[in-house]
């Protein structure tokens, strides 16, 4: 009865605040990501990074987003009734991602409501914060995620 233990809509209550994932990012991780998706000099090369406004090699903002997405999957999404996300309200890149960063990722539940058009689905709106080892928040993301409701999932299984 996997359906009864997976996280469902009912498991997210406004005000919940949980660190759900931690990860370390190496220089190789930063360069590999940038080579595939964001090949700008300051993400690929130490010297170019030093010459940039940020004063050193930095990770792509898109890398931060992908680290968040993977962290969400490992932290709570895969083992849930998730039905995807219609979009993202806001992504703020506040500080650079740097080689060797130890990142913690937290969610705070902003609100949770049942879908009007699809009563088997609930929509949970999250704020995600990515924080480095110096307790500096480097990225804040706000977005809704759709989850199946537990009683419906159990009825279906």
């Amino acid at each position: 009865m996997i359906g009864s233990t997976r996280k469902a809509f009912e498991d997210f209550t406004p005000g919940d605040s949980v660190v759900f994932h931690r990860t370390r990012v190496s220089k190789e991780d930063i360069v590999d990501f940038a080579a595939d998706w964001d090949p700008q000099p300051m993400h690929l090369d130490e010297e170019a990074g030093k010459a940039s406004i940020l004063g050193g090699l930095t990770g792509s903002g898109w890398h931060m987003i992908c680290l968040l997405m993977r962290g969400m999957c490992d932290g709570f999404l895969i083992d849930s009734t998730s039905a995807g996300s219609p979009g993202v309200d806001d992504v703020r890149w506040l500080r650079p991602l740097r080689p060797g960063d130890d990142l913690s990722i937290r969610y705070t539940v902003l609100d949770a409501r049942v879908s009007n058009s699809r009563p088997g689905i609930g929509i949970v709106r999250f704020r995600f914060e990515m924080t480095n080892q110096n307790d500096e928040t480097i990225m804040v993301v706000e977005n809704p995620i759709m989850f199946g409701r537990r009683q419906h999932a159990e009825a279906a299984s």
């Binding site: 595939d36 090949p39 987003i65 999957c73 979009g87 806001d90 992504v91 650079p96």
Partner: protein, 158 residues
């Protein structure tokens, strides 16, 4: 090219990409391993009805084509002897939507357009450009849209 040359309404068509099953699965296995992005059978059973790309795969492909396009524009500007554009860090993106999934075999055509611009109050050597990024599939259905901002160097005061 300086901030002064970046005018509202400027639109850049930055290219197209066709999404293969192998690419969709490779991206999602690394960054977004939800069943409907990595497993064709699970995807058929899901709300999506078939294997579809992670929304971030759709968006990262925009970024890659955008960077390739900007690199080419910079090269062209240098070759023409003009000033090369200078960009500062992006403060973020907002109002991102995935109105439709990107399925195996879909060809997405990407663009961005300047929708707002202002001078930086605190840093007079920079301007802030707001753009709208979009991706449309082969049926001209929109599959991606978001707004973003970047800093762009202003024309030096002589």
């Amino acid at each position: 090219m300086y901030f002064e040359d970046a005018q509202i309404g400027f639109k850049a068509d930055i290219g197209s990409h066709t999404f293969t099953a192998d690419e969709i699965i490779a991206f999602a296995s690394r960054w977004d391993p939800q069943p409907f992005h990595i497993d064709a059978d699970a995807a058929r059973e899901s709300l999506f009805g078939g294997l579809c790309a992670s929304g971030w795969h759709t968006a990262c492909t925009w970024m890659r084509l955008n960077v390739d396009d900007l690199n080419q524009r910079t090269k062209d500007a240098a070759a023409a002897g003009g000033p090369t554009p200078k960009f500062g860090p992006s403060p973020g993106i907002f109002d991102l939507k995935w109105p439709r999934p990107v399925y195996v075999g879909d060809t997405i055509t990407y663009s961005w357009e300047i929708v707002d611009r202002r001078e930086s109050a605190s840093r007079p050597e920079w301007g802030i450009v707001t753009y709208l990024a979009e991706g449309h599939n082969q049926n001209d259905d929109r599959v991606l849209s978001f707004h973003g901002r970047f800093f762009m160097g202003r024309r030096p005061i002589a």
